[in-house]
């Protein structure tokens, strides 16, 4: 099915929004309105319509005239995943994270409501679940990542919410059932809680820490702190990529009596017995927050293991690019991301071997950067570079690795940690009046009330 980009039609909601913005925006010249559109007959396929794919669909729909844009996205519902930590600690109702994808999908594009099952980068073809093929001139890979629960023996997402197992990452339902599992543990009045981290890059690397802090906060509210034991088990020596924050977290965990156990990887779980097996990852295979552990090495024999009883465990699964990308030519073939993540230049976000392919969001091979905040920084870069590629020009834009984590340190306060991979993970604060090194109520209010509107504006390509 081919359709050229039609002039955008607007429904009442969109008109109202534009009116609200235009009312005040009329006072000042707007950079966005100065951007010219680029005429093209190219067919651009965007794989995935999550945070990154949707932002790109809107940006490209605004900047290209005559192009054919296709979004391949099987889901009707859009999930605001950064809200899941707030769901799992009982602060948000789950419904607050849901919107319809149709609310954000730009008019005049093709929306293929099924998953891609293969990519042939040589032939520039995407295979779809129903057996049909979408050919492209340019491809934007925005499939997000895959949660590999199966790499933990005995673990599956269906177990979340039962046998004291929680995992905020699995899904909205998983986050809700994690909340229930924590409620159940707190109702017991005592016991051992294990909070794990993964031996791979993960989306929102702060989420396992936030789950520890918010659970601790709830435990303290029960007035029985001493009856609960919390252990944080992580494969690496570091708990966080940003060095200052890493030090802060270690000190805070020590002060709060949360036992830190480094070089521990969750390798198996026995739900019935409420026991978890950890494999000791010795200093020889030193982990950092951007690990180089390969899946094939997960099952190495002769490693030391330790079995630990738990009343509650928060499981963080290993993560990788989805199989559809891992099994394609697009996967990294060498370097730290080989076999696991999309092979992109971490600054231009262009594929390292296929110049007509760009990557954005969780799927790309980058040392940090798996956050919606990173997507906000990456989207203008991919837009500018793809347009330049399309016009045969040098790529003008460069991503500095910006990422942000509103690190909740207690229910009611947070640190707005923003940094990037340029300049040794130096802080990149957006607001001069918010110190990334300070815990603050305002940062909590931002997380609770303002980041979700900012995320939706990003989906619309407006920030």
């Amino acid at each position: 099915m081919t359709r050229h980009l039609a002039p955008p039609r607007m429904d009442r909601r969109q008109l109202l929004k534009l009116g609200l913005g235009a009312g005040a925006a009329g006072l000042l010249p707007l950079a966005g309105l100065e951007a010219t559109t680029v005429p093209t007959r190219a067919h651009i396929v965007i794989l995935g319509g999550g945070a990154a794919g949707m932002a790109m669909a809107n940006r490209l729909a605004m900047r290209l005239s005559g192009a054919r844009i296709t979004v391949v996205e099987p889901r009707e519902i859009h999930h605001y995943q950064p809200g899941w930590t707030l769901v799992a600690c009982g602060v948000w109702h789950p419904d607050r994270t849901l919107r319809s994808n149709a609310d954000f999908m730009p008019r005049g594009i093709d929306w293929i409501r099924q998953p891609a099952v293969g990519v042939d980068a040589e032939q520039r073809r995407v295979s779809l679940a129903d057996g049909s093929i979408a050919e492209y001139d340019y491809l934007v890979v925005a499939t997000g990542l895959q949660l590999n629960y199966h790499l933990i023996d005995g673990m599956s997402p269906e177990l979340i919410g039962s046998h004291g197992i929680g995992s905020v990452y699995a899904s909205l339902e998983g986050a809700t059932r994690t909340r229930d599992a924590i409620d159940e543990w707190l109702a017991r009045g005592s016991g051992q809680g294990l909070f794990t981290a993964a031996p791979t890059p993960v989306k929102c690397a702060g989420a396992p820490l936030k789950m520890t802090f918010t659970t601790l906060s709830r435990i303290k509210d029960t007035g029985r702190r001493d009856a609960f034991r919390l252990d944080y088990l992580t494969p690496g020596e570091a708990m966080f990529s940003q060095p200052w924050v890493d030090d802060f977290l270690k000190r805070r965990f020590d002060d709060e009596g949360v036992q830190r156990r480094h070089h521990y990887r969750l390798s198996a779980i026995d739900p019935g017995a409420r026991q978890a097996e950890f494999t000791f990852v010795g200093p020889a295979s030193e982990f950092t927050s951007h690990h180089e552990l390969r899946q094939a090495e997960f099952g190495r024999e002769g490693e030391m293991t330790e079995v630990i009883d738990y009343d509650f465990i928060h499981v963080v699964p290993p993560m990788s690019a989805p199989d559809v990308i891992r099994e394609s030519d697009l996967i990294a073939r060498e370097g730290p991301f080989r076999g696991e993540w999309l092979d992109t230049d971490i600054h231009t976000l262009q594929h390292n071997r296929y110049p007509e392919v760009f990557g954005i969001g969780d799927v790309i091979g980058a040392p940090i950067n798996k956050t919606a905040a990173s997507v906000k920084a990456q989207a203008p870069v991919v837009e500018a570079n793809l347009l330049a590629q399309l016009q045969g020009q040098a790529l003008p834009a460069r991503h500095n690795g910006y990422t942000s984590c509103p690190l909740i340190t207690d229910i009611g306060k947070a640190m707005l940690v923003e940094f990037g991979y340029d300049n040794d993970m130096a802080f990149l604060p957006s607001f001069s009046f918010i110190d990334p090194k300070e815990e603050s109520w305002v940062a909590w209010v931002l997380k609770d009330y303002l980041l979700q509107p900012a995320y939706y504006a990003m989906l619309e390509g407006r920030v």
Binding site: A24, A373, A457
Partner: protein
């Protein structure tokens, strides 16, 4: 990460709608109180009401307690200079709004008195 004016407006277009009924209700209260008072001859420079001022100040002061609670937090977590600036600004806003509503309403109840 820099925000342009258009970006800020885009964010506000998503942030404000859930609070629109509350904002409109407060605005209506303010306009109605001021209108009713002025129709009966109220001028805020020519009328003093100490109780209305005290209640407004108390309402502002109470903000320090209930606003952090309302946001799922607590006063103890209001720690940085920015936190305090935001909270004090909110408290002043609540005090001013309360005063702008109560002052003309008290005029309607008590009639024109000059102290």
């Amino acid at each position: 990460m820099n925000f342009t004016l258009s970006g800020i407006l885009a964010v506000l277009s998503h942030a404000i709608p859930p609070f629109l009924p509350l904002i409109l209700a407060l605005l209506a209260l303010l306009v109605i109180a001021q209108l009713l008072g002025r129709l009966r001859g109220y001028r805020f420079t020519a009328y003093r009401c100490v109780p209305a001022t005290i209640v407004a100040l108390l309402a502002g002061l109470s903000t320090l307690w209930w606003l952090p609670q309302l946001t799922g937090s607590r006063l103890a977590f209001v720690a940085t200079a920015t936190d305090w600036a935001a909270l004090v600004a909110a408290a002043l806003g609540v005090a001013l709004l309360t005063w702008l509503v109560l002052h003309p309403l008290s005029y309607l109840v008590r009639g024109p008195r000059r102290y």
